[in-house]
Symmetry: C2
Subunit: 345 residues, 2 copies
């Protein structure tokens, strides 16, 4: 079975069985957890191996049982220590295909690279979908596009950009606005049903990939583009820069985790300041979107007590003159208020 | 035959037969021209097809004749209109392998993707080398590295970064300094005998690829890293940003073509100013190299009369307080003077 482009769910239809395998910790189940949080109606159960050390709190079930419960696709979101699929997981994927499930994966290692998996998919007439295999897109052209676009940017990786972007979608839709989350990472792709794994495209095609993801839009609605990385992350800033240029954003929301000791994975790099981060992002964004404005700050205060969380938000508001909220604690209503005020016609 | 990593010339030894095929214009023969210019001692001849519209001014010869003249590898540097190898070129590559040549290519389309070519290499015990296939490298870590590094940056693509970097190598070696060109594009890789095609790596690995290319150096010499693109090019700035962070440059040289009407390939984008470009590059470079300094400006004045070229250099010098030279007309001696003055211990 060929690996289709990640353009829609026709090859990996919900509902889903979430494959946790032998996930060693909570972080390893990030994709499954994101699906349970944002698409609970798609998640009929989880499959856990004998060494699994986490749960996403949906019913445990086997492959045949999942099919009986209505599951159509198994989502593989966890790798073993080496980042590869591993012998046990390959065995399980083959068993899931034999039980009648399609299989989709967000791992760097492709399902399609395993002949036994490819053969099992063919034998059962099921589809394989590798979310980390990017579609082929043109290089970016920077031409002005119709429509409105918002991008989340951050001081660092893993500051809550996906969560914030999805929260904005929820809040805007609740107000009757047209707004669509545009996914750039594997968890987001599974939640949205489409998207582009922007960290996996060939370097020359980063901005082009984002242009492909959020083309001209004529219905007055917003594309809410999931940001990645940080302009200040020495490993990944190239991705963030291309994303910023390709997004051609009208509005930015800055995401940050107060109190983080250093850049993710890099103990020798401090986290940049909010003002510095916002100014660098606005400056770079102006290349393709001269009128870009910041409309808010989303703080991930999950490790702070309530009083400190509130103080962190107030401090950010005073510093930048923008509404600052923790989307988990407070929602994003005041950020959307500001967005609407800035773009009222 | 497997495609080896572009780490050295053991699989594509010089001397070379340069394959121009049916190149429609001078630009299509850019890689062959770069080799003739910087490695004339490696170029025994050129092979031109019946519709070839250019020459790199080395003797025309067939495959068997090239082998007799000592050629060991044929370098394929030109694609047909669609960017692909084309039926005629595939036929020629097979014939070259049958004549006993190894074959190396800088095209996006891989030699190894053609079964007829792979089979001919196997049959003749020859090697295939795809310079556009990047080596696998770790992600960047931004850790301080020993040694001295210089990076060329530009207002735009194709402003002479490779030429400038190679000219710096020539000038510095003539002064008895240790200095090595580090290639990031396919022509540079053929000239240097190793390198990484940085625009072809997966987006997450841009800075890591450059760290791999220019590791710790303890002999007091310089790595001279070939820049790519521009922080102000909406299509490719992600590559330039990752390159800048990965290079961890001690010194920058700014490359520019005075009088260019717009960004390459993008009529709707003006070329940024020299000062703006230099400041943005220094600012971004400081993330991984806080003490970075600019040491010169290299102007490509090939389309200007001599008086205007001279005026453009004077103007750049006055604007930035840095030596400005056209490496083709004037060499880069004054830029190297400045480099030595800045890094005299």
């Amino acid at each position: 079975m060929s690996t289709p482009q990640p353009s829609d769910t026709s090859h990996w239809p919900p509902p889903f069985l979430l494959y946790l395998g032998n996930a060693p910790d909570d972080l390893a189940a990030k994709t499954a957890r994101g699906l349970v949080q944002f698409r609970p109606e798609w998640c009929v159960g989880q499959f856990r191996g004998p060494q699994c050390k986490t749960s996403v709190h949906v019913p445990d079930m086997g492959f045949a049982e999942a099919v009986q419960a209505g599951a159509r696709t198994m989502i593989v979101g966890v790798a073993n220590a080496g980042g590869s699929l591993g012998e046990a997981a390959v065995h399980d994927v083959v068993a899931a295909l034999d039980a009648g499930l399609n299989v989709a994966s967000g791992l760097h290692e492709r399902l399609a690279s395993h002949p036994r998996i490819v053969e099992a998919a063919r034998r059962n007439g099921r589809h394989l979908f590798d979310a980390r295999t990017p579609p082929e897109t043109p290089v970016g052209n920077g031409l002005p596009r119709a429509g409105l676009r918002l991008l989340t940017v951050g001081t660092d990786c893993s500051t809550g950009k996906m969560y914030t972007t999805l929260s904005l979608e929820t809040e805007m839709r609740a107000r009757g606005l047209k707004a669509d989350f545009r996914a750039t990472g594997q968890t987001g792709i599974f939640v949205a049903g489409r998207g582009i794994p922007i960290d996996a495209v060939v370097a020359d095609f980063i901005s082009g990939g984002v242009e492909w993801l959020s083309p001209d839009r004529h219905d007055g609605g917003w594309d809410l583009i999931e940001g990645q990385g940080s302009l200040f992350h020495p490993s990944f800033a190239g991705v963030s820069m291309g994303l910023l240029h390709g997004a051609q954003a009208d509005a930015l929301v800055l995401c940050h985790e107060p109190g983080r000791a250093h850049m993710r994975g890099l103990k020798h790099y401090p986290v940049p300041g909010l003002r510095e981060t916002l100014e660098a992002n606005l400056e770079a964004a102006r290349l393709t979107s001269p009128g870009v404005v910041a409309v808010g700050v989303a703080l991930n205060t999950s490790r702070l007590p309530a009083a400190e969380a509130e103080a962190a938000c107030r401090q950010a508001e005073d510093l930048l003159g923008l509404p600052a909220q923790d989307p988990v604690r407070d929602g994003v209503a005041r950020i959307v208020d500001r967005l609407q005020a800035c773009f009222a016609d």
